[in-house]
C-alpha cells in the first residue's frame, strides 16, 4: 500500500510548503506526495520555478508527485511554463 503524504499549500508560503514536501519524500522515498493547491488562486514566477524543481527532484527519486484542487488559471500557467511535466493532476 502506498503511503501518501498530503501537503496543503499555503498561498502565502508556497516555497516553504514545497520545501517541506521535498524534505518529506527524501525521508520517505516510497511515498507518494500529494499537494493540495486549492488555496492557490494565483502563482508567480518563483512559485512556478519551485514547483518545477520539486517535480524534477521527485522524478529523480522515482517519487510520484500529484496535485489536487488546482484551479484552471494556475493549471494553464504550469502547462505553458513546462512545469507540469512530472506532476499528475487529479481530475477535480
Amino acid at each position: 500500500m502506498t503511503n501518501t503524504l498530503l501537503f496543503r499549500v499555503d498561498p502565502d508560503d508556497l516555497p516553504g510548503a514545497l520545501d517541506e514536501a521535498r524534505a518529506a519524500f527524501e525521508r520517505s522515498p516510497d511515498a507518494e506526495v500529494m499537494l493540495d493547491l486549492a488555496a492557490l488562486r494565483r502563482i508567480d514566477t518563483a512559485g512556478v520555478v519551485a514547483l518545477a524543481e520539486l517535480a524534477r527532484a521527485a522524478a529523480g527519486r522515482s517519487v510520484r508527485l500529484r496535485a489536487r484542487g488546482v484551479n484552471v488559471a494556475v493549471y494553464k500557467v504550469l502547462r505553458l511554463a513546462g512545469a507540469a511535466d512530472g506532476i499528475a493532476f487529479a481530475t477535480d
Binding site: R42, I43, D44, T45, A46, V48, V49, A73, V74, K76, V77, L78, R79, L80, A81, G82, A83
Partner: protein, 878 residues
Amino acid sequence: MQDDRDGLTEERTEYLEGLVGRARVAAAVFTQYTQSDVDRIVKPMVVAGLENAQRLARLAVEETRLGLLEDKAIKNMVATEFVYNYVKDKRTVGVIREYPEKNLAEVAEPIGVILSLLPITNPTSTALFKCIMAVKTRNAMIFSAHPRAARCSYEAARVMAETAVAHGAPEGFVTWVDEPTIVDTQWLMHHPAVRLIDATGGPAMVQAAYSSGKPALGVGAGNTPVYLEASADIDMAVVDIITSKTFDNGTICASEQTVVIDDEVYDTVLERFRELGCHLCSPAEVELLSHTVIDPASGMMHPRAVGQRAVDIARVVGMQVAPGTKLLVAPVAGVGREHPLSAEKLFPVLAVMRARSTQAALKLCHDVISYGGTGHTAVVFSEDDEIIAAFGETINAGRIIVNSPGSVGALGGVYNDMVPTFSFGCGTGGGNSTIDNVNVYHYLNVKRVARRTQAHMWFRVPNQVYFNLNAVENLRELPSSATVIVSNPQLEKLGMVDTIRRHLPPETHVHVLTIPDREPTRDIIRSGVQTLRAFKADQIVALGGGSVIDAAKIMKLLYESPEADLDELSAPFLDLRKRVVEYPSEAQRAVRSRLVAISTTSGTGTEVTPFAVMLDDDGRRKITLADYSLAPDVAIVDPQFVIGLPPAITADTGVDCLTHALEAGVSIFASPYTDSLALQAVRLVFRYLPVAFEHPDHLEARSQMHNAACIAGIAFSNASVGVNHALAHAFGARFGVSHGRANALMLPHVIAYNASVPAKFMPSPNSRAYVAHKKYALTADLLGLGGETVEGKVEALLGAVRSLLDRLKIPRSIAELGIDEGEFREAMPELVKAAFDDPSWRSNPRMPLLAELEELLWSAWRGREQAEAVAVSTEGAD
C-alpha cells in the same frame, strides 16, 4: 565545447536556454493578469521612459554614431507618451470587443515568448515601444539588438523591465541576449518556446525571421516617393520635407527619398529648398554623390553615410556647401541602378525629379517605391482630392501620407490618426505578413466566442386574396386597359374564360391566350411574352391549374424584365436570403402589369406562392424559380371554378395540398405563423377532400378545399416544402406523372422517413432539436387519431394518410402506374441527381443522403401498406 550542429558552444546554448526558460515562465505567469493589472504596470513604465528619454538618446548617439540626439530624444518620447496615449484605453485582456447584435465576442490570448530584434537606426525608441506592447498584451520578450546598438538598446529595456517588475510584472518578462551574434539569433528563432519573431531591422534579418518557419512580424525597406503636385501648398510641403528628411539625420525608414515635382512648380520648389538652407547639387555633384554615398557594387546606400549630417557627408565626399546646410538636393533623371540616388538613402540626401503630368508623376512614384520600398510609405502634397485618391489607389504603400512629413507622419498619432508604431509592416510586397503599423493587436491572438444566432425569419402574406363563391366579381374593381387571359383550351371550352370576361371592367380590351395544361416549356413562355408585348398588357389573368398560373408568372417576369435570364434565375441556392442571384426589382422593370391568379384546382396553392415550375428544354427536368416578386398580385379563390372537377384530378391536387401542409409543418423554416396555417389546411383536407372526391358538386366541400389549398400555399410560401416535393419533381418529370399524384405516391414513405432518427441532421440555426416526429404526432392529436406515444401517434397519422389515399383511389405504388421496372432502375441515377439538385429538400428536417433518396424512390416503387379505415376527427375544421 563546440557544438558543431549549430555553431554554439555548450555554455552559450545553456545561456540561451536560460533566457528562453525565464521568458517562458514569465509569459505563463502573465496569463493570470487582468486588464487592470497590466494597465497599472504600463503607466509607470511610460513615465520611466519619458524621464530617461534624453539619457537614452545620448547613449544611442554615442554608441551608434548615427542620428541626432535631440531627435532621438523626441523619438523616445513618442515611443512612450504617444504610444501610451493610444493604448491606455485599449482592451487587451479578456473580452476586448463585443458585438451584441451578432452574439459575438473577441477575447485576447497572449502569444507567449516573442523574440524581438532591434535595429541600429531607432534602437532605444523601438525597445521602449516594444516593452510597453509586451506588458500591455501580457507577453514576454527576448531582445536581440544590433551589435552596434546593443548597450543603448538593453539599457532602454532594463529601465522598462525594472520599472515593470517593481509594479508587479513577472520577473524575467524582458530578457536580452548579451553580445548577440547571428548564430545566437538563428538558434533562438528556431527554439520551440519562441512563438513569434518580431523583426524590426534590415532585410537580411527579416528574411531570416520569415525563413524560420515561425510566425513573424517583419518590416521592409522603404524608398519613399513624394509627389509634390502643382496645387500643393509649396511652402508647407518644402518645410515638411526638410523637417522629415532631416529628422534624426534621415534614419527613419519612412523618410522621403525622391520628390517628384510637377513641371510647372519645379523651379519654384527648388528655389524654396535653397532659401531654406538646402544645397542644390550640380550635375557633377550628383555624379559624385552617386558613387560615394551609394555603393556602386550593390546599388544600395553606403552604411557609413547612414544617419550623418548633410555637412558631414559633403565634407567627406569633397563637396563645398554652406555651413548649416540641411539637405543635399540632387536632381535625378530616372529610377534604377543607372540613377543611384533614386535608391533608399537614410541620410539627408534627397533626390528630385521633374514630371510633365500627373500620370507621369504617378508612374515615377510607382517606379521609386518599387525600387526596394514596396509596401512601405509614400507621400503626396496636393489640394486636389481626386489626385490624392488616385495616388492612394496607385501606390502600393502601407502608409500614404497626405500633406505632412513622411517620417514623423508614418509613425502615426502625431500628424494623423494612424496607430502609433515603431514597426512599419510592408505587406506582401515587402515580404511581410502585415502592412499595418504594428501595434498591440499584432501581439495578440484574438479569439472569437460565437454564440448561436437565430436567423431572421419572415412571414409574407399575399397582397390580396378574395375567397368564397363569386369572389371573381372583384375583377370589376381592378382597372385595366388591356388584359390577357392565360388559360388552357379545356377551360375555354367549359366557358370559364367567358366567365372571366364578363367580370372584367367593360372598358378593358381582352385577349385570350391558351396554352397546354402541363408544365410550361421555354417555347410556351416565349410565345406568351410575345402576346403580352403585342397587346401591351397591363393585366394578366391566369385561369387554370398550377401549370397555367406558373406559366403566367414566368411570362410576367420576362415581359416586365426582358433582360432576365431564366438559367441564371434558376441557379441553385442553399439559403433564399443569401443567394447569389437577384431577381429584377420593381424599379428595374421596363413595364408594369398586374397578375391575377384564379386557380381551377385545389390545389397547388400557386395563386399565392412565390414559386414557379417549368420544364427544361429536354422535357425531363423541372426547373424551379423562387422569388417573392413572382407571387401574384391578386388571388381569387372562387369555388365555382372547381365544381365538378373530375375525381382523379380532385384527388391528385387535393393530396398535393395535403403534402404542402404536412411538409410546411415539419420544415426547418416552420414557425408559429406557418404552423397554424399548415395545421388548419391538414384539418380541412381530411374533412373535405373525401367529400369533394365522392361528391364533385358539393359546394361546401369544394369551397373549403379551395381555401385549404390557398392556406397551405401561404404556409409553404413561407416555410417551403421538403424532400417529398424534390422526389415528386424528379420522377414526375421523367415519367410524365402529374405533380399531385407523384406527391401522393411519395407521401407515406416520406412521413415515415422524416419521423425516424436521421442519419444526417439538416443544419439549421433556428431548429433547436429534431422535432419532425413530434409535429407529426401533434397533427395526429389534432385529427383525433389517438396514440399514447409519439411513435404511436406517428403511426396513427401514417395510417390515416394511407387510408385517405386508398379512399381517393390513388395507386399504391409507382409500379402500379405501369412504368417498366427496368426503365425505372436505369433512370434511378438521373432521378436521384435531379432530386438532390432540387432546392425543395433544403428545408427538409432530415438531410437526405443520395442513398436515402434512392431508397425512398424504391419504397414508393414497391408501394405503401394496405390501410385500415381510420376515423379522423376534424372538429374545428369548419
